[in-house]
Symmetry: C2
Subunit: 652 residues, 2 copies
C-alpha cells in the first residue's frame, strides 16, 4: 500500500509468527481445553473478521461483478447423490498403517516426508545446506528425521523426479515406492502396510430409523448441480450463467497436520459456470488477455521439473496450454482477486494437474498455488468438469438436465426413410415380420440407397440379425427421401469450476503480510490491506478521561456513516503500546485525540507500516481516511494532502 515501508529482511520467524496468531486469537485448535482434535480449528474475533472481509470482497469481485446466482444448499446429503457423483467410489486417499503400532499415515505424505528428509540429509552431507534453523528443526521433528548421509547423484535425481510427480502415483505404485526405497514410518522405523483406500467423506444417518445413510458434503458443488433446472429457469433459460456458494465442507483427512492447510472442516467459496460445450469463449476475455501469470503446465512436471513459465493468459489459451477462454478468464480473475486481498504475486503460481492426479470429473484443472513456509500449497482449483456432473445426476434420477435453445435457423436434413406395408408384411412373413423391420431400420444411408435401387428393379434379399434371409418386394416396402426440420437444440452444458479454500487463503495472507520492525523483533506487524483488515481505524484518545468522550463519539459516528469500521482503544497504557497492539491485528490506520483536538479540532493520523504521522482537522482526516480505506488514494497521496505531524517522537 505504501511505497515507504521500512520492512526488515529478517528471515520469516515461524515461532514468533505462530505465537502472535495464537496470542491475538486469530485462530486456535478447536476444543483446546478437551485436548483438541486434529484438523479442527476455531477462529477468534480477528480471524472471524478477516474471514468475513475476504468473503465480502469475494462476493463483490465474483458474484456482484459477474451477476452470479447465489445459492445456499445443505451440507447433509443423502447417499444416492454421492453415489451418482462418483464420490462414494472414488473420493479417497491412500493410507498405510505402521505394521506394529497400527498408526495410520497418508501414503503420499509419508513418501514425500521421507524422501525430502533424505535429500536434505544429502545436502547437509555435501555441505550445501546451512544447519536447519530452530523452527525448521521443530517442523522436521514432526515429519521425518534429517540425517546427514550423502546419496549417489543418481539417487538424488531419482528422488527429485519422484517428488515432482508425486501426485501422479496410484496407491499400488506408492506401495511399490515404499518397498523399493525402504520407506518406513519415521516415528518408529517400522515397515508400513500396503496402501489401502480410505474414503474422505464423513458419514452419518438421517432420520430416527437409521435407514437413510448420509454424507457431509466434501465440496459445495453437488448442491449447484442438483438445482440446475431451477437455476436455469431463474436465468430465463439462457446460458452461460454461473451459480456461486460460500459454505462449510468436510473431509475426514487421514492424519491432518500443517495447521489451517489441512483441516477436516473448512469454508469454501465455489462457482459453477455453465457454458455451451461448443462455445467456451468468454465475452470479457479481452479484459484479462494481457494478465501475466506463472504457469506450471502438465508437460513440464511430467518431465520432472517444477519451474513455472511466465506467460500472458492470452498466449496460454492461444497455444492450447490452458484449454479454453472461459477457463483462462477465471484463472486470470482468481489471480486478480488474490493479489487484491494481499497475496504476494511473486509467491503465486498456477499449476496444471497431471493425468492421474485429476479428479474423476475433470478434463483440465489448474491450481492456484501459493508459496508459504510449508512449501507451495493449492489454495484455489479451477477445473473444467465438462458435462460429467449433470450427466451422471440426470442418468441416475431420470430428470433431464439440459439446455434447450431455439435455433435461429432451423437445421434442415434429408434422410431416406423406409415405410412398410405392415398388413401385407404380416400376412407374408408372420412372426418374422418384426426382425425384418428391425434389420431394415438398422441400415445406414448407403445400404438403404442400395436397397431402394434393388426394389426399383423388382426385389431385394435381406438378412436378419438371426441370419435368416428374406426376399422383399415394392409391395411390402417403399423407401422415400424425406426432409426433417430441427428448430430446437438440446444439450448438456459444460461446467467450469473455480473453487476456493478460504482458510488456506487466510493463512497465506497472514504469512505474506507478517514482518517485524528492525528496532523490535518481538513487535510483529501484519500489513493487511485495508480491504480485508479486521479493523480499519483505531481511535486512540490520550486517556479514558471523560473530556475526550464527545470527540471519540463524534469521530466514531462520522467514520461509521462513511462506512469505515473503527474501534476505540482507551485502555490505560501508552499510545505507542496501543498502536503496537493494533499493528499485530493488522489495523492499517490510527487516529489520536489529545488536548490539541479539544482546543483546535485537529487529529493526527498514523499509518501502520511506515509509522508516519500526519495532522489535519478532524473532518479533513476523516475524508482522507475514507478514501484510503476505499482504496481510491494511497498513503503517498494522503501525505500530499495532510502535513507531517512533528510531535511524532513524543507520542510514538
Amino acid at each position: 500500500m505504501s511505497t515507504k515501508v521500512n520492512r526488515v529482511a529478517h528471515e520469516f520467524d515461524k515461532t514468533r509468527f505462530e505465537a502472535l496468531l495464537n496470542r491475538r486469537f486469530f485462530y486456535a485448535p478447536a476444543f483446546e481445553i478437551y485436548g483438541g482434535v486434529a484438523g479442527l480449528y476455531d477462529y477468534g474475533p480477528p480471524g472471524s473478521s478477516l474471514q468475513a472481509n475476504i468473503i465480502a470482497e469475494w462476493r463483490r469481485h465474483f458474484i456482484i461483478e459477474e451477476h452470479m446466482l447465489e445459492l445456499d444448499t445443505t451440507i447433509m446429503t443423502p447417499a444416492p447423490v454421492f453415489e451418482a457423483s462418483g464420490h462414494v467410489a472414488r473420493f479417497a486417499d491412500w493410507m498405510v498403517k505402521d505394521s506394529k503400532t497400527g498408526d495410520v499415515l497418508r501414503a503420499d505424505h509419508l513418501v514425500k516426508n521421507v524422501l525430502e528428509a533424505r535429500l536434505a540429509g544429502d545436502r547437509e552431507a555435501r555441505g550445501l545446506a546451512a544447519q536447519p534453523q530452530q523452527d525448521d528443526k521443530k517442523k522436521k521433528k514432526k515429519a521425518a528425521k534429517t540425517v546427514a548421509i550423502q546419496l549417489s547423484d543418481n539417487v538424488v535425481k531419482e528422488y527429485e523426479v519422484i517428488l515432482a510427480q508425486l501426485d501422479n502415483y496410484s496407491g499400488p505404485q506408492l506401495g511399490e515406492l515404499c518397498r523399493n526405497h525402504k520407506i518406513t514410518n519415521p516415528d518408529t522405523d517400522n515397515e508400513v502396510t500396503e496402501p489401502q483406500e480410505f474414503n474422505l467423506m464423513f458419514t452419518s444417518s438421517i432420520g430416527p430409523t437409521g435407514q437413510h445413510p448420509g454424507y457431509l458434503r466434501p465440496e459445495t458443488a453437488q448442491g449447484h448441480f442438483v438445482n440446475f433446472s431451477r437455476l436455469l429457469e431463474f436465468n430465463n433459460g439462457r446460458i452461460p450463467f454461473a451459480s456461486a456458494q460460500i459454505g462449510r465442507s468436510f473431509r475426514n483427512e487421514i492424519s491432518p497436520r500443517a495447521g489451517l492447510l489441512r483441516v477436516r472442516e473448512f469454508t469454501m467459496a465455489e462457482i459453477e459456470h455453465f457454458v455451451d460445450p461448443q462455445d467456451k469463449r468468454h465475452p470479457k476475455f479481452t479484459e484479462v488477455r494481457h494478465t501475466v501469470l506463472s504457469l506450471l503446465d502438465r508437460h513440464v512436471q511430467e518431465g520432472g521439473s517444477s519451474a513455472p513459465v511466465k506467460m500472458s493468459v492470452g498466449d496460454a489459451v492461444d497455444r492450447g496450454i490452458i484449454a479454453n477462454e472461459t477457463l483462462g478468464y477465471f484463472v486470470a480473475r482468481i489471480y486478480q482477486f488474490l493479489i487484491k486481498i494481499g497475496v504476494n504475486p511473486d509467491r503465486l503460481r498456477f499449476r496444471q494437474h497431471m493425468g492421474n492426479e485429476m479428479a474423476h470429473y475433470a478434463t483440465d484443472c489448474w491450481d492456484a498455488e501459493i508459496q508459504n513456509s510449508y512449501g507451495w500449497t493449492e489454495c484455489v482449483g479451477c477445473a473444467d468438469r465438462a458435462a460429467y456432473d449433470l450427466s451422471v445426476h440426470s442418468a441416475r434420477t431420470g430428470h433431464s438436465l439440459v439446455v434447450r435453445q431455439a435455433l435461429k435457423e432451423p437445421i434442415v436434413t434429408e434422410k431416406l426413410v423406409p415405410e412398410f406395408n405392415k398388413k401385407v408384411l404380416g400376412k407374408t412373413f408372420k412372426s418374422d415380420s418384426a426382425s425384418i423391420q428391425k434389420a431394415v431400420e438398422a441400415m445406414e444411408e448407403s445400404e438403404l440407397l442400395r436397397l431402394q435401387g434393388e426394389l426399383n428393379h423388382g426385389s431385394s434379399t435381406i438378412k436378419t440379425e438371426e441370419g435368416n434371409e428374406f426376399q422383399l418386394t415394392p409391395e411390402l416396402l417403399s423407401i422415400e427421401r424425406k426432409t426433417f426440420k430441427q428448430s430446437i437444440r438440446e444439450f448438456t452444458p459444460n461446467v467450469i469450476e473455480p473453487s476456493f479454500g478460504l482458510g488456506r487463503i487466510l493463512y497465506m495472507l497472514l504469512e505474506h503480510t507478517y514482518w517485524c520492525r528492525e528496532q523490535d523483533v518481538e513487535r510483529g506487524v501484519l500489513s493487511l490491506p485495508p480491504v480485508v483488515a479486521p479493523t480499519k481505524v483505531l481511535i486512540v484518545p490520550l486517556s479514558a478521561r471523560e473530556e475526550f468522550d464527545p470527540l471519540v463519539q463524534e469521530v466514531s459516528t462520522k467514520l461509521r456513516k462513511a462506512g469505515v469500521f473503527s474501534r476505540v482503544d482507551d485502555s490505560n497504557t501508552s499510545i505507542g503500546k496501543r498502536y503496537a497492539r493494533n499493528d499485530e491485528l493488522g489495523t492499517p490506520f490510527g487516529v489520536t485525540l489529545d488536548f490539541a483536538s479539544i482546543q483546535n479540532r485537529t487529529m493526527t493520523l498514523r499509518e501502520r507500516d511506515t509509522m508516519d504521522q500526519r495532522i489535519g482537522s478532524i473532518d479533513e482526516v476523516i475524508a482522507v481516511l475514507t478514501e484510503l480505506v476505499d482504496g481510491t488514494i494511497d498513503w503517498e497521496e494522503a501525505c500530499r494532502r495532510l502535513p507531517v505531524y512533528d510531535g511524532v517522537q513524543a507520542i510514538e
Copy 2:
C-alpha cells in the same frame, strides 16, 4: 414503509403464497430431483440474498452496536464436549411408533394434531366454525382428519388445558395422554407404542480408525463456552462481554414437516453474554425500559391460558416477571430487531418457558414467538443459562473457567482457627489423631468458640464422626482468632443467551409481507423493507436497445457507489410485467429509463407497494433513492421532493 399502501384484506392464500416462493426459487426442497429429504431445504438466489441481508442487519444491530466478539467455531464436535454439556443424555424428543406399520411420530405433535382436530370437529358440529378453506383442507390432510363430532363441554375444557401446557409434559405423561384419550396414528388409526426418547444429534466418527465418535452441533453455543478463557483474555480480563456467532447447526428431527419451520439443518445466530452473577443489571437498560411487549408468562400458561399481557419491559423486570435487567434488555433488543426487518409487531409475543419445558441448562427462558399460518412459532430463544455450561466444562476438563477480579477494597475477615500440637497429639491418641483433627476442623464458629472457652478452663470432650469421645487439653490444641485478607474475587460468570433461528425468521418475514393486489390476485407482492430486500432498485430501460446502455451503466454505477444494490431488467417484455415480476421478489423501488431520459436526463421512480410513480433528474432520483434505502426518509418525504409522474397509466 409507506402510509398509502392500498393492500387488500384478502385472506392469506397459502397455496398462492407457496407457489410464489417455489416459482421464484426463494427456497426449495433439497435434492428435489432425488425425491427430496424431509427437513432439508436449499435457498435459491432471492432466498440467499434475503438471508444474507438479515444476517448483515443482525451483525449491525447486535455485534457492531454492542461491540461483541465474533467467533467462527467448528460444527463437528468430539463426543466428550456434548457428554459434559448434557446433550448426549438429554437433548432428545419423545417418539412413538405406529404399532403395526412402524411409522415414527413425534409424541407431542401427535397429541397436538389429534386434539386440535377433535376441537375443530366440535366447533364444526356446534356450527361455530366456517367450513375449512381449500388450503386448510390440504393442511389437515397432512395432520389429523377433522370429523364434525360434538364433544361435551368438560372434554373441550380438558383438551384446551392440555394444549395450553403441552410443552410441559414428560414422555410417560404423553403416553398416558394417548391411552386415556385414545389417541392413535391419524394416518392408519392404529395404536401407538409407549413414547421412547430419541437423541436429536446427528452422529459421525472422526478420523480413519473410527475410534473417535463425534456429533454435529445442535447449537453453536458450546463453541463459545470452550473458548471462554481466550475470549476473556481478548477482552483484557473484563466482564461483562458478549461473544456472537452465525453458523450452521443440525438436529435430526423425528418427522419434520411444516417447511422451513422444522428442519434438520439450519443457520443460527447466537449470542453468549457473560455477566457477573451478583450483578445482572445492564448499563443500557434505561434505553429499552419503556418498550412495550406482549408477554405470556409461565403462570398464565400453567393456569391453562394463552392470552398474553401488554407490559413495558421495565415493569416486567421490576415485578420479577422477567428475571433480571440483562435478560430484559436482550428481550427488548430482539423485539427491536424483528420489527426493524419487517415482522408484524401485532403478531409477535414473548412466551416464558414452563418448569418442565426448560432446557436442562436454563434457569429462565423467554421465546420470541411469531404468529403465522402454522400457529405461533418460536423464532428466538432468550435464556439465562446461569453458570451451568462453564461449570460443567470446567469440571470435565479441569480447566478453570472463571473471572478473577481485583477487589477495590480487600475483604477482611476474622476466623477462629484451631492449631494442633501434632507431635503430642500423635503420641497421645495414635491412630485416632486423624479423626480427632477432622472433627475439630469440621466445627462451626460457635462450636469452636465453646471449645475455646472449655480449653481455657482446662479441658473439653469431643466426639468424632465414628461416635468415640476424647478429652482434649490446651497442651494438645490451641484456638486463636486470625485475620484473613482477600484481594481477588474469583467467580464463574453467568450466561444470558439470545439464540436466533434465521430460517424461521426468514419464513415469517415472507408470510407477513405477502399480499395480493385487488385487481390481480395472481400477482403477489412481498413488501419486504429495503434493509432486507434482495434487490433494492430495479433499473428498467424501455428496451434492450443499445441507445439506453450508457444511461443504464451510469445509473447502475452511481447507485453502486452510493452503496445501493441494483439489478437491470432489459428483458423483452412490457415494463409493467417487469415490475410485477420484481414485486414478487420484494424489490421496493424501480426506475425507468426512456426516451425522455435520453433527451432531458430525467428518470421515473416507482414505489412497489403503492405503485406511485415520481419523476426527477437522474441525480435527484438517485439522491432520494439512497436516502430511501438507508431509511433516513420514507416514501411520503420522497413524494414531497419529487413531483408525481403523470404518464404513469401509459407505462404501468
